[in-house]
């Protein structure tokens, strides 16, 4: 079983994608993949139709495949970006020294397409590594599942996969070396590693170590450039940092070029081009959607050109099947049904989403602002409370707090920390702050038990947000307030590190941690008797002393008026 897996995947990885037979190969590979019931499609292909032998293609072929860009002009990537990548490639294919390039960016922004087009134009040969297909059967459910069972399973595959990857690198190297002897310069090979699915495993920690090891040995031996392509999602943009921590980047001199999402105007251009092309070819089978639909597809894809093209095709094809429904209403119907599937209604959000649009993510600070500024609706149908409860009366909310948290792409706990860091700026009354802080404390208490914290997490963030919204009774228009990162994470980390360091450095005193930290260390700072150890001296200087009689500005976010004048008010 395992050997079979290795064979087929390595073979598949070793298909040469030279300029001439690029498309044939892709077709071949498509068949291979198809025969293995491989759900993952080849990566993005977009732009103009580029060779005439595509005329006989079937009509239901995805447009994404049909309109692969084959020249720099067709790329939906900014010219400067393309130039940057091209320059890198030129520099690193010139000499005998190979290099490492890391391309990052959200999915569907044209990373792979750029590389492919450029290599075509520069006459480079690509050797592409894709993850073994068997792996996908566990992970293609789109949702990355982190539960233990999953990770155990994927770990299994990971080991074989890393071995395969190393073998791939080795063979790519050797193979190319052999070829190099007799061949001309135009046959500079290049390895591309596509990490689309690989990022799933980065959380396991061993993925990046294996990656590090293999790239290290690659750098030592290789004379060819190696390109890593990592797509990072807006929620977890740290995946590339997981795989390539900064030390590794510096050690191996990896250059990093990050791509932005495709700009709406560029995307619009591409979509219109595809549509006119299709319209001219299909003899009325495809109904051209009007401008508004195009715009909706464009905005709904949030810079992912692959999904935009897919959506466009979906919209037109559906129409072609159904016949004479007006397209717009169809789009609306679909979108409404997708809406209904989501449990949360989007109240107060911008319009209806187009077909199959991506989940829009709320920028974290916008989400925070929605809670902290606590926009209340002007005068909705208000539920009248009895008079003895009238102080609890609040206007109805403009936003649904749970919806905000869900769309902020951070965990509820983290969101609470952000709220906690910033909420004081938005309060004017001490009584309100008292209630709000109690709600925050409640929220922390809810998640304290590790057994139930998984289920309670959502409730905790709900308690915190709603508590904050409710307790802010004196709504003041604060205008713009800068929001800050939570200090707690840094503080608690430092607390832990300092405690460990203290226990390590002063272990010869044989004291319990509490008395060491509260009794011995502060007094050691007062003594002049010299320690032999420089580390001990600096630690004592650092931890033993507190800045007395003045405010530390390190943690408070703004400068504070002089204290003395405040104190005399009482």
């Amino acid at each position: 079983m395992l050997s079979f897996l290795t064979n087929c995947s390595v073979d598949q990885s070793f298909i040469d994608l030279t300029g001439q037979n690029l498309f044939d190969c892709r077709e071949k590979r498509g068949q291979i993949l198809g025969s293995q019931i491989e759900p993952m499609r080849p990566r993005k292909r977009k732009g103009e139709i580029c060779s005439s032998d595509l005329g006989h293609r079937k009509q239901d072929e995805p447009w994404v495949d049909r309109y692969t860009p084959c020249s720099k002009v067709d790329l939906a990537v900014h010219k400067k970006k393309v130039e940057e990548v091209e320059n890198w490639l030129k520099v690193h294919t010139d000499g005998s020294q190979g290099g490492l390039l890391l391309l990052t960016g959200p999915s569907g922004c044209g990373k792979t397409a750029t590389i492919q087009v450029l290599s075509l134009e520069l006459g480079l040969r690509i050797q592409e590594w894709t993850n073994p297909p068997k792996l996908d059967s566990y992970t293609n459910s789109q949702q990355v599942s982190f539960d233990i069972f999953m990770s155990v399973k994927s770990k299994f595959h990971l080991t074989s996969q890393s071995a395969q990857f190393q073998e791939f690198l080795l063979r790519a190297n050797k193979y190319n070396c052999l070829k190099m002897v007799g061949d001309a310069r135009s046959f500079f090979p290049m390895s591309i590693q596509v990490f689309d699915k690989y990022t799933v495993f980065s959380c396991l920690g061993c993925a990046h170590s294996c990656c590090a090891v293999s790239s290290r040995c690659f750098v030592k031996t290789s004379r060819f450039p190696l390109v890593f392509i990592v797509s990072n999602s807006p929620s977890a943009d740290s995946s590339s940092r997981f795989l390539f921590p900064r030390e590794l980047m510096e050690e191996l001199h990896i250059s990093n070029i990050s791509f932005n999402p495709v700009a709406p105007t560029t995307m619009m251009k591409v979509l219109t081009r595809i549509l006119t092309n299709e319209d001219g070819k299909s003899n009325g089978r495809v109904i051209v959607p009007d401008q508004t639909v195009l715009e909706m597809v464009c905005s709904g894809s949030s810079g992912d050109i692959r999904s935009a093209i897919n959506n466009l095709q979906f919209a037109s094809q559906k129409e072609a099947l159904r016949g004479n429904h007006p397209l717009k209403s169809k789009v609306m119907a679909v979108s409404r049904s997708t809406l209904r599937k989501k449990s949360k209604p989007k109240n107060g959000q911008e319009g209806q989403p187009p077909v199959g649009m991506k989940d829009t993510c709320l920028f974290l600070f916008r989400a925070l602002g929605k809670i902290l500024h606590c926009k209340k609706a002007e005068c909705a149908f208000a539920l009248q409370l009895p008079s003895h409860l009238s102080q609890h009366h609040r206007e109805s909310l403009q936003v649904d707090p749970e919806w905000v948290i869900e769309h902020s792409y951070v965990s509820g706990e983290f969101f609470n920390l952000y709220l906690h860091q910033n909420y004081l700026d938005f309060f004017s009354e001490m009584e309100d702050v008292e209630k709000a802080s109690e709600y925050m404390s409640d929220a922390d208490l809810l998640t304290s038990d590790w057994m139930s914290s998984n289920t309670m997490r959502e409730y905790a963030s709900s308690v915190a947000t709603r508590g904050l919204l409710h307790s802010n009774s004196q709504q003041i228009a604060v205008g713009f307030r800068p929001l800050h990162k939570p200090n707690w994470l840094l503080v608690s980390k430092k607390h832990r590190e300092n405690c460990l360091a203290a226990q390590f450095l002063f272990r010869h005193f044989c004291m319990t941690p509490v008395s060491l930290q509260t009794e011995l260390l502060p007094y050691l700072a007062k003594f002049t008797n010299p320690f032999k150890n420089q580390a001990e001296i600096t630690f004592i200087q650092d931890v033993g002393h507190l800045p007395l009689k003045r405010f530390s500005l390190r943690y408070s976010s703004y400068s504070i008026p002089f204290i003395a004048c405040l104190r005399c008010t009482r």
Partner: protein
Amino acid sequence: MSLWVDKYRPTSLGKLDYHQEQASQLKNLVQCGDFPHLLVYGPSGAGKKTRIMCLLRELYGAGVEKLRIEHQTIVAPSKKKIEINTIASNYHLEVNPSDAGYQDRVVIQELIKTMAQSQQIQASTQREFKVVLLTEVDRLTKDAQHALRRTMEKYMATCRLVLCSTSTSKVIGPIRSRCLAVRVPLPSTEEVCNVLTSVCKKEGLLLPPELAKRISDKSGRNLRKALLMCEACRVQQYPFSADQDVTEPDWEVFLRETANYIVSQQTPQRLLEVRGRLYELLTHCIPADIIMKGLVRELLNNCDGHLKPEVAHMAAYYEHRLQLGNKAIYHLEAFTAKFMAVYKKFMEDGLDGMMF
């Protein structure tokens, strides 16, 4: 140059400065060469550790003073590696299992097992058991305490346990009943003064009795703290004067200032400043519960008698949450906010009362 605390630590039961009656009882206890498991408890700085070490020396002779600090790695059944520092001599092993956090159960089981399974080399001339000294037993998780209870019975033949804790309230009943409980109370003010004077005499210094008295008051009769204070005073100024400032740790002064800030103004902005100061304390290695305690003490000094019961109640409420919760700052801040609100209301009411 070592600290006075270490330099003048009594090393035998006969040389102890106070609680002499207890010392002679302990001497009698080990006279016959064997003793039951011990649970030594008492406030910090009362001399628990000193007494335990004296006891061990009585048992094994000077050999127990040859200490080595070891860094041990224990592999938990879940394959997780736990690293812990131990202090050992040929006859005993001292470990603070709560260093390992929630994995303390594994530490207890593994360490005691290895200890108990290695026999003494010369059983004829030595005792046939070794001693495991566990510190901070009250901070052990319930899991670990139950594991300890089993271990105590199982390895009774080859090892004795000496447990050291500040209070017995967090030690489960079965353990308490398996041990001989020895309470080491704080020394009285006179005893602290005597110790301070005698230490100073050994150093060749002259300590005014007034200063000794003030140091002992300031230290709360915690002898370790008193000696450290005394040494700090020596660094600060010599010859001593009777009215010289007794050096306090920076964090206590800082905490007092923080309490003053809280009392002087009650606004959200002030709370933000206080939060910054709490963070500062935390980064300087002061545990959150100690901050809470210190803050309450200072605030109680600052507020009116009518408020005191309420403040104490609030403090208990949030201290409890602090123990249960994950992130200390939420609860510390909630307590501060609550105090501010209550205090503000009280002051405003008082102001109204004065006007009419």
